[in-house]
Symmetry: C2
Subunit: 465 residues, 2 copies
């Protein structure tokens, strides 16, 4: 009995460990850069500590070694932008706080030895209190939070570190040089050895989010009306892959990720196709518009449970333009994703977007024609709602189109076609600016003058046609 | 000319500074705890640094003082929970890494003086790499991220700090005692002097988010059908306050805040009405359901631009039950907010929720009756859509009701009524658990078996009636 119990608990143990190993493996497989990052950090720390360990004049680790290792541990982040942000913040804050600390010590020394500690205490108290409060200012919190922290630390250390100015200068010099060594090691390794660019991640995130929205819209018509799936969605196994119906949900929660990536991207030097002043803010605008579209899709999703049997005359007639509207909106988004992915301008007037708008008119006409006579109201209400939400989604897709056109101009995307009429399009692009310093969470909601954009872009396309 | 230019730039300067001061003032006014927090941090740092500054055996600042000040600067966070989290992480990580470091040193010393640095280097490299990788494991990232960082730091420092074990033990002892002093100062000040509880913040956030959703729903009917506002919304000035129409938007983006607050609340000791094992996870579930409701409201909001003139017979007839449905759903949410706020159980069967459901039936009946004969399709489509989305919102409100009933049971809220039939309600509360360790962002979407809940709770209320 006991041995059976033992062996079962042994197997339990084994299963747990295997499960753990599987999860670790999956983490590494999902993003192999994580493994590379781990080795990069280990390399940096080993390098810095070995320099201090092996140098000839070694007499136990001094302050120097401590600060260099500490800097590497704290500054080395996953992306190059984040590492640069922290490194720069640390360097400049140490410099500024060191200078202020020396000044404070000099000022206090004028009061005589008895009053000096009190003056220093008051100075530390006041400066720390105001610096801590400044961390609540949104702009500082966003970009210089770590710098203020280091400022507080260094100032307190320098002020408390001793009476004589000459000693302080030496200390400040030592600390700065070690921090420079540590920081430089981090920055060099993080930029030169398989760099992870936050900007590139943001770019890819926007593309993949566009694709997720597109996949939902492309598949939605087939799902809700129980049609066979669209041709271009290849179903491999017997059970069709329905993941495209839920993938869009991650778009709804990508705000925090997008903002931190854009923030880090701001610190990164130009690299590859991204120049130094790449319009990262425009990516945030596109993110806002995509989430807006996602909210409508979420509302739409509630109707997926109640599949419409295309039994009645009414639903049969509405079904076709609705499916077309949805799948064309999806294709337009895919086209946009492709153009962002390949750094090319989106086509001046998207075929899919036009087909989409035609389908909107068609839906309206069909509805108008079909609503005569007695109808089963419980059947038609959801269909009308779905059609109506789809029309809103088409409006969203149009605003995303305009925002990506703006992006392509700001970031100098390759223009595959001639850009004769291009400048006109932007009159419609009335996407109000995202206020940078605004703390409130409402800032996610760029006021989009949808109607203006819709009518303007229609006018333009009428002119073209 | 020049003086005019000078004075204008002087006024510009003055306006800028005044503007800056106004913004700072607003920051403090919005949350006075920010000012208190700044003074608390300043107090802690001044205390710790003065202890080292004034002690009799002062001979320049040693490692000790550095580590105590450093600990205070880095550990002191806005809420008591976050401070505890960082303090505990720092303490235990230092202990563990110190012990491992001593072990590593002993191990390496067995190989002889020549090979020792190489063995130590390899050990540092391996341990740092695996510790860094472990920071990507979601569970560790969520709760012990800072601990792992400190582990890496302390281990590298101890390993590099010297050959002899006796010296290392002394160093480890010194570092631990100073970290304890710094950490204890932080924790005592943050808990005893005007504490900011993350749990209380989370509780209040949920209440205020419920109220925001409720305000929108209460006012929506009046807005879209251009009715006079509901009686209970007092309009003070001539221009009516429309902020309730946009306030709900902050609910959509509160996921990150809720999660970090719940995470910090986990570390907090029992206080006030919150016991030690308060069900913080249930708050996250409610948050998910509220966002779901918010997404539907966002879809509804798109129709606010096109106000319906209650001109036609059709819209006049649908208007009344729709307005009732919306405002009753709002009142039900207000009631829930009130009950969470006052730590009392929600009423067994909410009057408002019942009126709400009756209004749903009424809308369906009215629509059925009105859809006969020729109608202006462009007018009725948006009305039908609005009614249909409102019905979805009522379903959301029901799920929120069930989730808050669960919360009230788990957190032992005061029960104002007898709870005879209460246990029945929970059979319908099929809110699937939020998977804790799941990294994917999709986790925000608790699968809610809406239909089950709806039908179950209807049954229950039928039994009661």
């Amino acid at each position: 009995m006991e041995s059976a119990h033992k062996s079962s608990s042994y197997f339990n143990m084994k299963a747990l460990i295997l499960n753990f190993i599987m999860r670790i493996k999956k983490l590494g497989k999902d993003d192999p850069r994580r493994i590379v990052h781990s080795f990069k950090v280990a390399l940096a720390i080993t390098l810095v500590s070995m320099v201090y360990y092996l140098r000839p004049l070694y007499k136990g680790i001094g302050d120097n070694g401590v600060w260099a290792i500490l800097t590497v541990v704290v500054v080395f982040e996953f992306s190059a932008g984040a590492t640069l942000c922290k490194g720069m913040n640390r360097g400049f804050a140490t410099l500024l706080a060191g200078a202020l600390g020396v000044g404070a010590n000099y000022l206090a020394s004028l009061f005589g030895t008895k009053v000096e500690p009190i003056v220093l205490g008051c100075l530390v108290f006041l400066l720390v209190a105001s610096a801590t409060f400044s961390r609540f200012i949104p702009h500082i919190k966003k970009r210089y939070d770590y710098g203020v922290l280091i400022f507080i630390l260094t100032f307190s250390l320098v002020v408390v570190s001793g009476y004589r100015v000459d000693k302080i200068l030496e200390l400040a010099h030592q600390r700065l040089s070690t921090i420079l060594i540590g920081g430089a090691t981090c920055i060099v390794i993080s930029i030169c050895v398989c760099p992870v660019w936050a900007g590139e991640d943001l770019h890819n995130l926007i593309v993949s989010n566009l694709e997720k929205l597109a996949s939902f819209l492309e598949g939605f018509g087939g799902e809700i009306f129980e049609l066979p799936l669209e041709e271009d969605i290849v179903v491999s196994s017997n059970e069709p892959d329905k993941s495209f119906l839920t993938a869009y949900k991650s778009v709804l929660n990508s705000k925090a990720t997008e903002e931190s990536l854009a923030n880090f991207a701001w610190w990164e030097p130009g690299h590859g196709k991204f120049r130094f002043s790449h319009p990262w803010k425009q990516y945030l605008k596109i993110g806002v518009l995509m989430r807006q579209c996602g909210y409508h899709i979420e509302a739409l999703n509630a109707y997926l449970d109640e599949k419409f049997q295309a039994s009645s005359e009414f639903s049969k007639r509405v079904q076709e333009p609705c499916t077309k509207m949805s799948s064309e909106a999806g294709k337009a988004l895919k086209e946009l994703a492709q153009s962002v992915k390949s750094f090319t301008s989106p086509p001046n007037c998207s075929m899919h977007l036009q087909t989409c708008k035609k389908a909107v008119d068609e839906v309206n006409t069909t509805l108008k024609a079909s609503m005569v006579g007695e109808l089963d109201v419980l059947e038609i209400i959801p269909i009308i709602t779905v059609a109506s939400i789809l029309i809103e989604i088409v409006k969203c897709v149009e605003t995303i189109f305009v925002a990506i056109e703006e992006l392509s101009e700001q970031a100098h995307f390759k223009d595959l076609l001639n850009d004769g009429e291009k400048s006109q399009v932007h009159h419609g692009g009335a996407v109000a600016s995202v206020d940078d310093d605004d703390e409130e969470e409402d800032k996610d909601f760029v006021k989009v003058i949808i109607h203006k954009i819709t009518s303007d872009s229609r006018k333009i396309e009428d002119n073209r046609g």
